[in-house]
Symmetry: C2
Subunit: 385 residues, 2 copies
């Protein structure tokens, strides 16, 4: 049984309640103010106010093989006020900038939906709403992230929370030391915003992170106390991990040097989850710099496991046309296309004609996955990347 660490005790003596880090907040506020100033300056000079927004398209995204990161190019789009096709978006950008400024100054955070409501009103004297729906405001907020070259989290905005953690680490969340060695069956709910101003790392004995796709599989590993036996941290992201989980994994990897091993389903969706953890999502390339983990390893489930683990035909789930199409797209991703292992893996899955879930290992034994499969793979360094 792990004892409560002295380190976490000493941190707990100085609780910290303001959300976020003062320096980051000041920097973000300065960027927003600068954007406002440039708009005001143009207006006062009686010229056409504008905002330059980096283009978030695939054509302006490229994979840097040396850095092994997705990067955005230099292309920008100018958004003018005196252009009937751009005026609405220009005004929305300024309006949401103000919303984020208010949020930062109030030292509060808000969901994307909350920010939509906060900025929602009808233009006086008209029936024109500032936003037709949340989708419109979400898009502008992404523009704002890249225009200010910051992260949504630094604008104090968050999306739905998902994902849990247990293991040999103490984290300090908003001043509260949380001993992840003693989180029972439920675990610590990973926050939406995992920036250093909110979540810090206390004492950590863990040597690696096992990230699993589903909370139900996570429960199997937690119940079998895998993290205790193998001295690690156990996380899950309830499917495609939200940004909070990805940022936390990134920081555990970068700041504490922990390898990240992923246990995902053997299907295009599992491969895509791995791809996002590893490189980021293509249409949000600007976030990769601070979230992508090119060194993350894919432990399984792999197509060869069907024969290797002696699974029965019952666990086969047929690939449909959409699966095959997705699998081929993923094989073409620049970080997979030159990897022999990944090409073989995806080809074998397509040739097999079926996918498999992590849970299929339960047909061998309830705890086969946590007591045989993963320990054997880890010991043999048997993964792909």
């Amino acid at each position: 049984m792990a004892k409560k660490s002295k380190e976490s005790e000493s941190i707990s003596a100085t609780p910290k309640r303001a959300v976020g880090n003062q320096a980051t907040r000041d920097k973000t506020l300065e960027k927003i103010t600068e954007l406002g100033r440039s708009v005001a300056k143009a207006a006062l000079a009686e010229s056409d106010p504008f905002v330059d927004v980096p283009t978030r398209t695939i054509s302006n995204t490229s994979y840097n093989e040396t850095r092994r990161l997705l990067e955005m190019g230099d292309a920008t789009m100018r958004r003018n006020l005196f252009n009937t096709g751009q005026a609405r978006k220009f005004m929305q950008t300024v309006l949401l900038s103000k919303g984020c400024k208010d949020l930062l100054e109030a030292r509060k955070t808000l969901s994307l939906r909350g920010m939509y409501y906060m900025s929602l009103h009808s233009i006086p004297g008209t029936k024109e709403k500032t936003f037709d729906d949340q989708e419109e405001s979400d898009g502008i907020l992404e523009d704002l992230e890249v225009s200010l070259s910051t992260l949504r989290e630094n604008l104090h905005l968050f999306a739905k929370k998902r994902g849990t953690m247990v293991g040999n680490i103490t984290v300090v969340d908003n001043g509260d030391p949380i001993d992840c060695r003693r989180m029972g069956t439920g675990g610590y709910a990973i926050p939406s915003i995992c920036e250093p101003g909110v979540v810090q790392f206390g004492k950590c004995e863990a040597k690696f992170v096992l990230h699993v796709e589903k909370d139900t599989v996570w429960s199997r590993f937690n119940e079998d106390r895998f993290w205790e036996k193998h001295n690690c941290i156990l996380t899950e992201g309830s499917g495609q991990p939200p940004r909070g989980v990805r940022r936390l994994l990134y920081r555990l990897h970068k700041e504490l040097g922990l390898p990240i091993y992923c246990l995902l389903d053997c299907d295009p969706w599992g491969h895509y989850i791995y791809s996002v953890i590893k490189q980021g999502s293509i249409n949000l390339a600007f976030e990769s710099e601070r979230m992508a983990i090119p060194d993350a390893k894919y432990l399984g489930i792999r197509s060869g496991d069907f024969a290797r683990c002696g699974l029965s035909d019952d666990v086969k789930i047929s690939l449909n046309d959409r699966d095959i199409e997705r699998a081929k797209q993923i094989a073409e991703y620049p970080w997979f296309v030159k990897k022999k292992h990944w090409q073989k893996e995806i080809q074998l899955m397509i040739r097999n004609g079926f996918k498999m879930e992590v849970e299929s290992l339960i047909t061998k034994d309830i705890s086969y996955v946590s007591e045989v499969y993963v320990p054997e793979r880890l010991k043999a360094k048997d993964w792909i990347d």
Copy 2:
């Protein structure tokens, strides 16, 4: 800042690792064994083995006005082995009984999907699978729950985990004391199984529970430290709360005597969430006895809040035909039909022609909901039930 309570320290000195409670497990095992014995006895006597399954239909469900609970009637369905229309279901019932027995004896828990896989195989010499899909196995597991008059949780089965908690309470989860006063921005992830054998209550100063619909709203209340200022527990169920959350709310209410206040959207979905917390779901009436909280209060959002809080037209979301149909159905539920307040509430929503989300209050102020709306309603005891 709340200090770590002495009570939780003393509990933490005797950690407890086996899942569940010995007496409950023994009782459930005895019930399964009894079922097996009756089948074996019939077989040995060369008569037709059968299982009697209480009928889970609306016609066999009634609302007991005195107890204010949904109850199942006495109707049962006999499932025979020597009946081509019933043989498959009979064998599935026996197979899953064995699966649950194995699980209880191994002192492990499993997801519903896990149990499906564990019991999945092809009948030797045929291409017949024991189950075509998980839906088939889930249905039989519900039959098993009622046949054994137990809860799924006592069969060590669980569904996807959702929901988080913070507040002035320490819970002991599988031997780990969890101080919900010091859970940062993330919170304690409420387990899927919240039976007394897994989750116990330590020191609790809280005087009530505020249950909100969404995790994003929960974050607002947590960030504003509502639970500290108002001495309460704050929970969320990410929409329709899963059984773990409902069972925890029930136990907080029954065992600690805490009133449960619900803050949900003003729409048929919000009303339905309240209805399930209050009375249980109609097609799973057998669980109501141990999950329903007839005394739970509905704080808001209410239709009258549009005028009362001076909200703008922008927050209105039009009701569609399906919404109106659902609203009328809910108004006919036996626990709502004689309640004037509920009839007025639903009628006003339909007359208004629009629904509203809790987040609509953000148009007033970021923290209006946590610093004005809920405190005012609580102070005035202004809720409906």
